[in-house]
Amino acid sequence: MKITLSINLGGYSFNIDEDAYDELRAYLRKLEQHFAGEESSSEILSDIETRIAEIFRTKLTGYRQVITMQDVNEAVSILGNPEVIGESTGPSAGEKFSTPGYHRMYRDPDNRILGGICSGMGAYWHIEPWIIRVLFFVLTIAGGLGILVYLILWVVLPEARTTAQKIEMKGDPVNIENIKESVKKEVENVRKKMNI
């Protein structure tokens, strides 16, 4: 004996086995991710749901009342897995989320002494922050210009808060891979600081 769930698929009501439900939900989620970058993705998904509902209805003839795992697997093979559905328009899935390596100057809150201006500029130009700090110091001594420039930059430059911004600060493309790497590094840093 199995537990069944009652679902609304494309406006039709179905009784579906619990394990079949899990499978179906996982499939719909994969499709959702696949079409995430596409405009009208919700319309596409809704059309696909309707089609799956049509397929299910053809299964429930005679004495059959419940959608089983076999029905779900059949529907999935008819509609196709995301890899086989293939790419819609644009760039491949991995690149869909990436910005083309925007290189922006931010204030770096993780490596700051005062406002993160020197570390931010260092990240942008890929040079050590202390070089910039020395520069500011020299400018300050020679007429106070350094302080003025520093304060202006503090106001004007945004802080790199999100992981994506921190990546952009260094000029790397923002895609899933880089974000994963950055988050991993940050977790490692925290672990080291806390000696876990």
């Binding site: 406006g11 079409f35 009208s40 089609r51 008819i78 509609l79 196709g80 559905i85 819609s88």
Partner: protein
Amino acid sequence: MDIENTKAQMRKGILEYCILSILSGNSCYASDIIKGLKEGRVIVVEGTLYPLLTRLKNAGLLSYRWEESQQGPPRKYYELTPDGEKYLGELDGSWSELVESVQLLRKNKTNK
């Protein structure tokens, strides 16, 4: 080189053209379009169709209306727009050219 991939690319290339051709002069449901494409063995999985239909609609080449159905929720009933017919006409010309070129190349090959 993966021949299955090359074949898939060929099919993918003509998919839009096939969809527009099916709809030319006959309005129909998505499932009818699928049937036509499957019979022509142009489509392998149905999932490929839906993003295309939506894109063609967004480009103004197709339109649809909702048709009531006695057995359940309303279904989309597709037809070509005037822009779509024009677009199809151009693709028809392009297709004929392609077929001619390929046939010529194949003939030259056997003549050598």
